[in-house]
C-alpha cells in the first residue's frame, strides 16, 4: 500500500493582491514533481467509481496511473479517448460534485486532485506535443452534419462525427468560436489561447467553422435540410437569454446582465479599452447579485476592472451557493465581500439615470421550496441600502428562443428548453438533435460535452439507418 497523504498536493496560485489587478491566469498548475506526488495518492481502485462521476467517463484511474509513473504522453492519450477538451475541463469542471465526489479517499482524507491532474496532463501535452501527429480523418461520407453553436456541446459533437468520417459544419452566431468558453469564462480562469488551440485542433480534423450565422435568422433549420443539403442538425445554442430581477430601477445605467458584462469583458476585451473599442463601466463599488459560477466570474472581473469593493448579494446562505468551491475560495481571497441572506428590492439612481444604490432586505431561511433548498423569507423592517455604481445580475439564463421560434415541429417545455431524449438528444423533429444548456437550462461545460457525446452516437446510428434504408434491395 502506498503512503497516502491526507491532503491534495497544493496547486500554486498567484498572490491574491497581485491578481486583483491582472487578467493573467490565477492558478499556475502543477509542476511535474507535484503532479507525480498527487497521482501517487490514487489507490488504483479495482472498480474506479470516480469514473462514474464523470459525464464523459474519462478513464481516470488509468490516466492517473500514467501520471504516477511519469508517462505524461500516455496520460494525455488516455484522456483523449474520452475527452477532447481536457485543458478546459481541468480548469472549469465542478470536480467536487463529479469525479472527486466519488473518490474512495473521501471521508478519511481529501480526494485525489483529479481536476488538477487533468489540467496538468493537458498543459503538458500542449507544451510538448502528443508525440503522434493528429491525422485528419477521411471525411468520406456523403451525409453532412450541421452543428449550431460552437460551445462545448457543439465542439464535442463535431469532433466525434468528424472522426467517424462525416463532413461537419459548425455555425456560430458571434464573430469568435467557443460559446461560453469565449464570452463567459474569464481569461484569468481559462486563457482564450486554450480555446483557440482546441478550435484549431478541430479545424485540423476537417471541421468547417462558419461565423456570423444566426440559425433561425440567417438560415433556418428547414433551410439547412431543404436547401443546403444537411442530413442531420445538432442544436447546441446554450442558455442564451438573461434573467432579470424585475424590480424597480433595473434599467438604470451601470446595471448589466452577467451575459452583457462578461461578453464585454471576455469576448470584446473591454478591459483593454481604448486599445479595444468596446467600453465598459469602471466600478468603484460593485454589487453582483447571485452566487453561482457566473456570479463569481462577474465579481472577480469587477475587481480587475478596478472596484475597491466588490460584493456578492445572495438571498440564500453560503450553503446554497452554486459556485465551484475553488472559485468561491479564490473570490474570497481576492477580497470579495459576501452578503448572504440579502434580497434586492429596488435600485436607486441619480438624476442622470446612473445607479447609485441597491435597496435590500435581510432574509432568513424557511421551509424548503420546489428546488429542495430552504426558501428565503424577508425579515420585516430589515431594509437597508448599499451604495454601488455597478450592478451585475447573475441569476441565470433562459434558453435563447431563436431556434425553437423558427423551427416547425420542435417541441419545447414550459421554460422554453428544447425537449430532447436524455439518452440520445433526439428532439420531436426527426433528424434534429439537441444538447447542453438549451435542453437542461444553465449547467456545466462537462455536462454539455456529455450530452454532445451521446447525441453524436445517436446521430451516427440514425444516419446509418437512413443510409441503409435508401440502398436498393
Amino acid at each position: 500500500m502506498p503512503i497516502v497523504y491526507p491532503h491534495k498536493t497544493e496547486m500554486p496560485c498567484r498572490d491574491p493582491e497581485q491578481r486583483r489587478h491582472s487578467w493573467d491566469e490565477v492558478a499556475e498548475g502543477y509542476t511535474v514533481e507535484r503532479a507525480i506526488a498527487e497521482a501517487r495518492r490514487c489507490l488504483n481502485c479495482q472498480d474506479p467509481v470516480c469514473e462514474q462521476g464523470c459525464p464523459v467517463n474519462v478513464p481516470i484511474r488509468d490516466f492517473v496511473r500514467n501520471v504516477a509513473v511519469g508517462d505524461f504522453a500516455g496520460a494525455a492519450a488516455t484522456i483523449r479517448r474520452r475527452n477532447l477538451l481536457p485543458a478546459i475541463c481541468g480548469r472549469v469542471c465542478p470536480v467536487e460534485h463529479q469525479c472527486e465526489s466519488r473518490c474512495i479517499l473521501l471521508g478519511r482524507q481529501e480526494p485525489v486532485g483529479i481536476g488538477r491532474l487533468e489540467r496538468f496532463v493537458a498543459d503538458w501535452e500542449r507544451e510538448h506535443g502528443s508525440g503522434g501527429e493528429t491525422t485528419a480523418p477521411d471525411l468520406w461520407r456523403d451525409q453532412k452534419i450541421a452543428i449550431i453553436g460552437s460551445g462545448p456541446a457543439g465542439l464535442t459533437v463535431a469532433s466525434d462525427l468528424a472522426q467517424l468520417g462525416y463532413p461537419v459544419t459548425i455555425f456560430e452566431a458571434l464573430h469568435a468560436y467557443g460559446g461560453v468558453l469565449r464570452y463567459g469564462i474569464p481569461q484569468y480562469r481559462l486563457p482564450k489561447e486554450i480555446v483557440d488551440e482546441d478550435v484549431a485542433h478541430l479545424t485540423a480534423l476537417g471541421v468547417e467553422f462558419v461565423r456570423n450565422v444566426i440559425i433561425g435568422k440567417t438560415v433556418t433549420i428547414d433551410q439547412l435540410f431543404d436547401e443546403l443539403g444537411y442530413s442531420a442538425v445538432f442544436v447546441g445554442t446554450g442558455a442564451g437569454s438573461p434573467v432579470f430581477l424585475n424590480i424597480p430601477g433595473e434599467n438604470l445605467k451601470g446595471i448589466y446582465s452577467a451575459n452583457e458584462f462578461l461578453t464585454r469583458v471576455n469576448l470584446m476585451r473591454a478591459y483593454s479599452f481604448p486599445e479595444y473599442d468596446t467600453p465598459i463601466q469602471r466600478p468603484r463599488r460593485a454589487a453582483v447579485i447571485g452566487a453561482g459560477d457566473t456570479a463569481m466570474d462577474a465579481v472577480r472581473c469587477s475587481i480587475r476592472l478596478g472596484a475597491d469593493e466588490a460584493h456578492i448579494v445572495y438571498r440564500r446562505s453560503e450553503q446554497e451557493k452554486g459556485a465551484r468551491a475553488e472559485d468561491y475560495e479564490r473570490a474570497r481571497d481576492e477580497g470579495v465581500i459576501f452578503d448572504w441572506l440579502t434580497l434586492p428590492k429596488r435600485f436607486i439612481g441619480d438624476e442622470n439615470g446612473w445607479v447609485t444604490g441597491l435597496e435590500c432586505i435581510r432574509t432568513e431561511l424557511g421551509e424548503p421550496d420546489a428546488s429542495g433548498r430552504r426558501r428565503p423569507v424577508p425579515v420585516p423592517g430589515s431594509e437597508f441600502t448599499m451604495d454601488t455604481d455597478l450592478v451585475v445580475i447573475a441569476l441565470g439564463t433562459n434558453p435563447n428562443p431563436l431556434v425553437p421560434q423558427t423551427t416547425y415541429g420542435l417541441e419545447v417545455d414550459g421554460h422554453g428548453c428544447i425537449v430532447a431524449d436524455p439518452a440520445t438528444g433526439a428532439t420531436s423533429r426527426p433528424g434534429v438533435y439537441a444538447g447542453g444548456d438549451i435542453v437542461t437550462g444553465a449547467a456545466t461545460v462537462i455536462l454539455a460535452m456529455g450530452a454532445g457525446r451521446r447525441a453524436a452516437t445517436a446521430i451516427h446510428e440514425h444516419l446509418q439507418e437512413e443510409a441503409t434504408a435508401k440502398q436498393p434491395t
Binding site: A173, H175, G240, S241, Q281
Partner: protein, 278 residues
C-alpha cells in the same frame, strides 16, 4: 460556406453619411423590412447594429446607410468598393408588422430615412398608400428623398432652416398634412431620438397608431446580453429580438435617451484619440 460581405457600391450621401451596397447573399436571402445587421470592421473593434436600407434576394445584396458619429462608424465610412467587412451578421430583429390597407405615413429623420425605405416598398406591394416625410437640418443633409420617391405616393421634404421644402420639423408637416385631411391610418418613424419622441407625442395626441425603430446600445444582437433593453409599456424588452420597431406611444424615451449616453465619456475619448471632432 461563404460569409464574405464585400462592398460593391459606395455613395456619398453627405460629407459624413455613406451608402454601401454590400454583396452578402446569405444575409439577403432571409432579410425582411425592419431588420438590421451587426457589423465589425477591425479585430479590436466593437460590434455595431445598422438598419437595413434595402435588400435584394436576387442580387444577393444588402444596402446600408452609415453616418459617421464615432470612431467605429468613421472606420466604416472609410471603407471603399471592393473591401469587405470583417463581420457582417444578420438579418437580425423582427420583421416590422405592416398593415395591408389604409394610408401609411413614413417619417425619416437624418440618416434614419434609409431605414424606412424597405417599409415603403413592402407597403406599396400590399396596396397601402404611402406618404413619406423626410427631414433634416438643412438642404445638404436631406438624403434619400429620391430613393423614397420611387416607392411613395408622395414625398414631403422638411428642413429646419427652410432651405428646402417645408420650413420646420417633420412633426409640423405631419400635422399640416393630417389637418388637411390626408387620412393617415398608420405611422412609422425612424430617426434621431428627439424626432421619434416628437412623432410619438404628435401621433398620440391625434390617436394615430405609430411605431418607431429604436437603436440602443447593443453587443451581440441575438438576445443574449440584454444591453439593448427598453421599457415599452410595463415591459422591459430587448430591441434586438423583440424589436427594433416598437409601439411609439408605449416607449419610455427618457430612459432610452439616458441609456444611449452610458458610454459618452468613453466615446468622446475614443473620438479624440482617433482625431475626430464630435
Amino acid at each position: 460556406m461563404d460569409t464574405t460581405a464585400r462592398i460593391i457600391e459606395k455613395r456619398d450621401l453627405t460629407d459624413v453619411t455613406k451608402l454601401f451596397v454590400v454583396h452578402a447573399p446569405l444575409v439577403a436571402r432571409n432579410a425582411a423590412p425592419g431588420q438590421f445587421v451587426i457589423i465589425r470592421v477591425t479585430e479590436t473593434g466593437e460590434r455595431i447594429p445598422i438598419s437595413i436600407t434595402d435588400f435584394s434576394r436576387d442580387e444577393g445584396t444588402i444596402t446600408i446607410v452609415v453616418q459617421q458619429v464615432g470612431r467605429t462608424s468613421a472606420l466604416v465610412c472609410a471603407l471603399e468598393v471592393g473591401e469587405t467587412f470583417l463581420d457582417f451578421a444578420g438579418p437580425l430583429g423582427l420583421e416590422v408588422p405592416l398593415p395591408f390597407e389604409g394610408h401609411a405615413v413614413l417619417v425619416g429623420g437624418g440618416f434614419g430615412t434609409g431605414a424606412v425605405f424597405p417599409l415603403a416598398r413592402e407597403l406599396r406591394r400590399r396596396g397601402v398608400r404611402v406618404s413619406s416625410i423626410v427631414g433634416a437640418r438643412t438642404r445638404e443633409l436631406v438624403i434619400l428623398d429620391d430613393l423614397l420617391a420611387t416607392e411613395s405616393d408622395e414625398v414631403h421634404v422638411c428642413t429646419n432652416d427652410g432651405s428646402l421644402g417645408y420650413r420646420g420639423f417633420v412633426t409640423g408637416r405631419l400635422e399640416e398634412l393630417a389637418d388637411a385631411g390626408a387620412g393617415f391610418t398608420h405611422c412609422f418613424a425612424v430617426g434621431p431620438m428627439p424626432m421619434m419622441r416628437a412623432v410619438a407625442d404628435t401621433t398620440r395626441r391625434r390617436g394615430l397608431p405609430a411605431m418607431v425603430s429604436l437603436d440602443p446600445l447593443m453587443v451581440d444582437g441575438t438576445g443574449m446580453c440584454g444591453g439593448c433593453r427598453v421599457s415599452v409599456g410595463s415591459k422591459s424588452l430587448f430591441a434586438c429580438v423583440h424589436g427594433p420597431f416598437f409601439d411609439a406611444h408605449e416607449v419610455d424615451f427618457d430612459e432610452a435617451d439616458a441609456r444611449l449616453m452610458t458610454y459618452k465619456k468613453q466615446e468622446d475619448l475614443a473620438c479624440e484619440m482617433a482625431g475626430l471632432g464630435r
